[in-house]
Symmetry: C2
Subunit: 410 residues, 2 copies
């Protein structure tokens, strides 16, 4: 299967929407060993869509379209595909039932134009849309296949998972399974260097990705069934874990905050935070995790020195002698925090996020962070780079990663 992606919609050409669908589909197809030759975006114009199909099929046998499946006059993907493949449009009974059921479930009334959404090239395989009114479809003729998916990513992604992947697995007689390993505290280029020899494999494939919270490696194998695919993945996973154990914080759907929260729950430990430059970002990230209330007591955001003194019992002499951005202040903050909230674990952060506030010996990006675990305090000095938001975000990631690594030792 050789593939191109055609996005249909004038709103993309106006820049109103970023085309995340093409990236999503490309990544998923790459994981399944399918080469993507080109992306194209074209407006709601019948002739230009035909031209684009011609170009897209030049190197490929399959085109995935996104968008243009709605009920309005601008939605012309179904007609365009039928015309290109030389097929008649026919109302699909299954699609009709799906659309009617969608409206019934939501207690909304269906307009006649919604029935247009059930018209597909004859012989199409209909793809169920559980998140919207527009079914998708797979149409084929003369060795050319067009897979039509809806534009909204929320609808497209589920339909791809539920209908397109099974179709791909069926025609390739293979299932594909992935294992994602999450890293922090290591740059993408260094990670790649350390596993370079593993990146050229064909099955399983190993693909690196960078995320704001770190980077990841995705191992993907195609095989005749789930168990065999996972068996192919296992030795590669072990090899990677063996090479870079100190940078790994989790697998698959894990996040830094979910890992931290789950470890705290497992250890029956509570946590509190004292944040200065991050201004609540660490606490807010922990609260991303539903169920954090089992372990998270609360935090003090001590942006001013007065609050550090009053709420965290930081001695005025420390602020005068060492300054608020200092090892001593981070230590006093984290002890004051653990005492105030009476938690097993506490974290303090004090630093210079910039653009102002730097001194000769404390440039922008200087951060001190304290970690209190059962009465033991350790302080780290971080030197972060980037703008104000990046310094704060990288600080939160580093602090959470360090927390996960320390909790893993308990």
């Amino acid at each position: 299967m050789k593939c191109s992606i055609v996005t249909i919609g004038t709103e993309i050409l106006l820049g109103d929407i970023i085309n995340t669908n093409s990236a999503y589909l490309s990544r998923k197809l790459a994981e399944h060993g399918i080469a993507v030759f080109s992306h194209h975006t074209v407006g709601d114009n019948p002739d230009r869509i035909q031209d684009t199909f011609k170009t897209a099929f030049k190197n490929c046998d399959t085109v995935i379209t996104t968008g243009g499946l709605g009920p309005t006059e601008d939605d012309i993907t179904r007609e365009a595909v039928a015309r290109f493949l030389g097929l008649e449009l026919a109302s699909d009974a299954k699609a009709q039932t799906e659309i009617a059921a969608f409206f019934e479930q939501r207690g909304r009334s269906m307009s006649p134009s919604n029935l247009k959404q059930a018209m597909f090239p004859e012989g199409s395989i209909i793809c169920h849309n559980s998140r919207g009114t527009a079914p998708g479809a797979i149409a084929s003729s003369n060795g050319k296949t067009v897979i039509m998916l809806p534009g909204p990513p929320f609808e497209l992604e589920l339909m791809f998972q539920n209908s397109v992947l099974p179709y791909i697995e069926k025609i390739s007689s293979q299932v594909f399974r992935s294992r994602v390993i999450h890293f922090s505290d290591i740059g993408e280029s260094e990670m790649n260097d350390r596993v370079k020899d593993l990146l050229d494999g064909k099955n399983p494939t190993v693909a690196p990705y960078a995320k704001t919270s770190g980077c990841q490696l995705r191992i993907t194998a195609g095989a005749k069934d789930h168990d065999y695919a996972m068996k192919l993945i296992k030795p590669l996973e072990d090899e990677i874990v063996n090479r870079l154990p100190e940078y790994i914080y989790g697998y698959d759907d894990d996040t830094l905050e979910s890992r931290a929260a789950e470890l705290l729950k497992k250890l029956s430990m509570t946590i509190s935070c004292a944040e200065s430059c991050t201004g609540g970002m660490l606490s807010s990230t922990l609260v991303n995790y539903a169920g954090i209330s089992d372990v998270f007591a609360g935090s003090v955001i001590s942006y001013s020195n007065a609050v550090k003194i009053q709420e965290l019992s930081v001695e005025e002499s420390i602020l005068e002698k060492n300054g608020a951005v200092s090892e001593e202040c981070a230590r006093a903050m984290v002890i004051g925090c653990a005492q105030k909230f009476n938690t097993d674990v506490a974290i303090s952060i004090t630093g210079i996020a910039g653009p102002g506030g730097a001194t000769d010996d404390k440039p922008v990006g200087t951060v001190y962070t304290g970690l209190y675990i059962n009465g033991q305090v350790s302080i780290r000095k971080l030197n972060m780079f980037g703008d104000r938001q990046r310094i704060r975000l990288r600080t939160v990631n580093s602090v959470l990663f360090n927390l996960v690594k320390e909790l893993e030792k308990l």
Copy 2:
């Protein structure tokens, strides 16, 4: 000028990177009255790039390329453009100087392959890159123009502003100016309905955009000079402000937090926060604003009831009788917060972000928020929808918008 955008880079076809450049360029071009006919993405393959240029130029006279200007063997945009336009590649002295200066400034040594980056189709206009090594260029032949820009958005966007826009303004003998009006507390479709009759203008144009913090209208005018463009914009701006005054929080680069911070500074008022379900997101958003330290004292994140009682002096009987998510609790929290931090303004938030924690009369999305200003307390009940993160984000936006509107009255 009729334009298409060609993205060159295999990494985009693998889905490693989301193509934000095409959206950025399309939006900017639309604002300048230039129609974009298509987007294409092609890998680092010489013949396929030629085919893509042929397709892209079908309806256009100008193609903007992004990517493929680096020093490696995969970077073949310069060669591809020269071949397509039938021009020789020549080393450009200005580009050479630029590249050398970039390395010198950073104290890094230049490799011979970097000099490849100075080779452009003969007669090109070189575009300065102040954020990277790869200069861009504008090459023309036989009525066809190719504008070559680097791939990294950080480099591309500045080059577009500094080199491409002046080029466009020169060939069109016009300057383009914009005015952005920011709205909150109103949906994009309602905003559009209220200004529908203004959206069809040709000059100025009015274009709506949705953002996570609300939505915006961008008025853009082309004229012979800056003053005349602003004069064209003014009546439309006044009309929009006149129609929707209650939803406007700022203009151009304003954000909700910058507006709140600037109003507090102007009024010489201090602020503190007591956050429960948002878990620090409100405080962290305020701290996005560099210079917040002038007005922001600190916050308590009172995730547990014990912290609400101990740190914010919420009476236990309120928690027992009314629950933590109640008007009474929001009131007690905001008063306790203002007293603790001794600030002129305080905000409290307590709610159910889900997915758990809902009761029959308090569904997920129920939020109570208190605003204390100089001893006066007002409580609002919000009914938010969406998942955990969206409920929290929308709550923070609503709270900041309400704060701005209340401060504007003082």
